[in-house]
Amino acid sequence: MLLLFGLAACSTERYGEPIKGFSDAAAQASDAVRDMNQTLADATLDYVMRSATDSKLGELRLEKDADCGAYVPETNAEDAVRCRAVFVVNGEGQTVTIDREHYTNPMGNMVAVMAAIQKYAANLAEVQADKTSEEVNASIDKIQANLVELIKATDPTAQIPQGLPQVAGEGVKWAFGQYIESVKLDALRKATKAAVAPLDDAAFVFKEFAKSAKQQISVTVMAEAAKAMRNRPDNSVASNRQALDQANAYDDLLTAPLSPMLDNLVAAHRKLETALNGDGKVSIQEVFSRFEEIKAQAEQVAKIAKDISAALKPKTT
C-alpha cells in the first residue's frame, strides 16, 4: 500500500504537451536539415559542373575508365565493374573526387542523425500518450461484471452488497493505473537521461556541418554577390539592383539559423530531462519557450534553402 501511495505522486500526464511539442519540433528541424542537404547537393553539382569545363580546375571522368568496356554478364554479379562518373576537382595542391553521393546527398549521415532524433522523439511521445490504462480499465469493468454474473450463476440467492463491486473495481483500476504510470515514467526518465549525451554531440556536430554548408554554398553561389557589388562600373539602377539582390541573398545565407535551431531543440530536451529526472524545480512550461523559436527557425531555413535552390536552377531566357 505504501508503494502504491508512493507511486501516486508520479504521473506522465503533465509531460504530454511538452513531449508532443518536442516531437513536432524534432520533425520540423529534421525537415529543415533535409532541405539544406538538398540545397547543398544542388550547389555542389552546380559548382563541379562549372569546374569541369576548365581543365585547370577539374574534370568529369569515369572512375575506372580502363575497365569500362561493354557489359558482359559475370557469374558473380559482384565482380561486374561499375563504371561510375565522377568529378575530379583540384585546388591548393589538393585533389578531391566528387561522386554521386557527394552531389546528391552531401550531408547524408547528418540527415540520418536527424532522422534518429526524430524517431526517438516520436517514440517518447508514443510512450507518454500510451492508452494502456484505458484498455486495462475497460477489461476491469468486464471482469467486475463477469464476477457479479458468476456469483449469481453459482448462487442465485446470493446478496451482493450494493456498490461493492464498483468500489473494489475502482481500487484495482487505481492500483493498475499507478503501476502503468510508473512503467511509463520510468521509461521516459531513463530514455531522456540516456539521450542527453548523443543529443549534445549531435548539436556540436551539426554546428560544424552548418558552417561547412554555409561556406560551401557561399563559395559556389554567393561569392558572386561580392563580385556583383564590385563589378558595376556604370553604377546603374539595374546593376545596383542585381548587386543588392545578391548581397541580400548572401546575408540571408550567412544568418540562416541552422545551428541555433538544433541548439534550441537540444536545450528543450535538456529541460524536459531535468523536469523528469530532477528535483522538480524546473517548470515544464520552460520547455515550451523553445518550440515556437524552433518552428520559426525551421521555416526560415526551409525558405532560404528554397531560395538558394531556385537561384541555382539554370535560367531560361
Binding site: 549521415n109 494502456t132 563589378n231
Partner: protein, 135 residues
C-alpha cells in the same frame, strides 16, 4: 583517438586551412574594392590599374576555388566520421528501450484482457452447469 577527437581534428584542420586562405584573400579584396570604387565614381582606370583589377579578380576566384576544395574535403570527412555513426547508434538504442517499454505496456493490457475473457468463460460455464461453482 576517440570519435569526438577525430571529428574535432577534421574541423580544426578545415578552419586553419580556411584562415590561411582568408589571409591571402583580404589584401586582394581590399585592392579590388579600391579600384572598382574608383571606377564607379567616374574615374577611368589606367591600363596598369585595369590589369591589376583583373589580376585581383582572378586571384580571388582561385582562392575561393581553393576554399571550396578544402571545404569539400572536410565535409566528406565529417560525413564519414565515426562520431555520426556513434550518435545514430546511441539514439537507436534509446529508441529501442522505449519500444521495450511499449511492449511491456501492451503486455499489461493483454493480461487484463485475458483475465476478462477467462471470467467471461467462467460465467458461461457456470450458467451452463446451472450449479454452484467454487471460485
Amino acid at each position: 583517438m576517440s570519435a569526438i577527437a577525430e571529428f574535432r581534428k577534421i574541423v580544426d584542420t578545415r578552419d586553419e586551412a580556411l584562415r590561411g586562405l582568408q589571409g591571402l584573400e583580404r589584401p586582394l579584396l581590399e585592392r579590388a574594392n579600391k579600384l572598382s570604387d574608383k571606377q564607379r565614381k567616374g574615374t577611368a582606370l589606367s591600363a596598369a590599374e585595369a590589369d591589376e583589377l583583373a589580376t585581383a579578380d582572378t586571384g580571388l576566384d582561385r582562392i575561393h576555388h581553393g576554399m571550396w576544395v578544402i571545404g569539400q574535403i572536410s565535409l566528406q570527412a565529417m560525413n564519414d566520421s565515426a562520431l555520426l555513426r556513434d550518435i545514430v547508434s546511441s539514439l537507436k538504442g534509446v529508441s529501442s528501450d522505449l519500444d521495450k517499454a511499449k511492449q511491456k505496456l501492451d503486455k499489461i493490457a493483454k493480461v487484463a484482457n485475458i483475465t476478462a475473457k477467462v471470467t467471461s468463460v467462467l460465467v458461461e460455464l457456470a450458467e451452463k452447469a446451472g450449479k454452484a461453482l467454487l471460485i
